[in-house]
Amino acid sequence: MFSKILIANRGEIALRVIRTCQKLGIQTVAIYSEADAESIFVREANEAYCVGKPPVNQSYLNADEIIRVAKESQAEAVHPGYGLLSENAGFARKCMENGLVFIGPSPDIIASMGSKIEARKTMKEAGVPIIEGINTSLESEEEAKLAAEKIGYPLMLKASAGGGGIGMQLVNSEEELLKAFAGNKKRAESFFGDGAMFLEKYISEPHHIEVQILADTHGNVVPLWERECSIQRRNQKVVEEAPSPFINEETRSKMLDAAVKAAHHIGYSNAGTIEFLVDKEQNFYFLEMNTRLQVEHPVTEEITGLDLVEEQLKVAIGEKLSFTREDVNRNGHAIEVRIYAEDPKTFFPSPGKITEFQLPVGEGIRNECAIESGSQVTPFYDPMIGKLVAWGPTRGEACERIKNALENYKIEGIKTNIPMLIKTVSHEQFLSGYTTTQFVNEFYLPLLTSTK
């Protein structure tokens, strides 16, 4: 096993990786920006180095400085976490060139899945169903209009390099498409440096369901069941659970097969997630592949009993997976909610100082969190400040546990989405197990106006 690794990330995920390293006796090196100097993950790491000013492009995205720190501190490998440099093929390549193991798949695979248009083509070749749409970049409104006529409205306009819901919009008519095209293209150019746009047919009542896989460097791929992540706001996930309460065993088995086929086809290694949209008839279509650890990986850990970070480290050092598909447990039900520093009605961020803070405890409750009383939530990074996970022997018990825990989550000084999460996990539609990506629009937002 490695003796020392650098974690090129911050917040709860940096702390999560440190925890597994401590368990395995691996030394950890944290990097941080000036804004995070007082953070728990900086204190918990064996060594910590400041790599620049608060804006991400001057610190957490400063690949050269991070690699310099890794080499100087004699780390052998780099764990990129999620977001930031985790799906940056150039960074992964630079790590390799500097003799560092990048804990993730090869740079070529990261690049091929990073372009949604390329990924669509590759998955089609692999025999994985994709949503009807176009597989070339649309250069102009005119081109988009012609392509849209062929497929038919409603459509999703998407940025090929997009992520986090940026550069993505539902369009119901030619008029809406023409209005949306230039703005989203520009947004994609400024956020991702790539303005390539494409169109996919809109699936009605879509469920977002994804399959977690682990693949070693010896050609073994094992699926670790699925997660349902349909409840989203601003096209970002808010509630995730495993297993999906929606799909039947036949669909589940087909989706897991498709994910394994996809991973084999591209020669994938390490942890990865294949995201699908599932329609109301349980037809499923490839959406994208995330070539890293996901925010919501704890729900998979809760039902399988595996430590995904540990598995990532083992794969990165060249070990074979120690289990087969048949060996992987599916025990009980786990639900995760993301705690965001934001207004629960408008979803606008709410930075500030946390004056009081106490995490809930209880049977089956797990917290992934890297803040404490006195922490400053700065405007520089993602508004997610923690994750709360509840496991129960049944979905009903998991729902009850997470609701109780949310009611006992004590955080003062900033606004959070906790009131929204409580309303969500106690809503009859959520309890029924039929949730689509329209949940917030259809069930949560109307609740706000009707209770006034």
Partner: protein, 70 residues
């Protein structure tokens, strides 16, 4: 004269107006970027932009004045 303030701390992502521009109530004048989200700042009443206090890329704090409108 109205002084348009930033509603929260963040980076100035886009400045949509310049001095002398006519603006109408509700019009977006600046887009801030905070915590990976775009936050538009708009004017509350019709008027003329008399001064723009920020440039794209600047960092502003909550309630910093970003645009004057008369």
């Amino acid at each position: 004269m109205a002084k348009i303030e930033a509603g929260m701390a963040g980076n100035v992502w886009k400045v949509l107006v310049k001095e002398g521009d006519q603006v109408t109530a509700g019009q977006e004048v600046v887009i801030l970027e905070s915590m990976k989200m775009e936050i538009p700042v708009s004017v509350e009443a019709d008027g003329t932009v008399t001064k723009v206090h920020v440039q794209e890329g600047d960092f502003v704090n909550d309630s910093d004045i970003i645009v004057d409108v008369e």
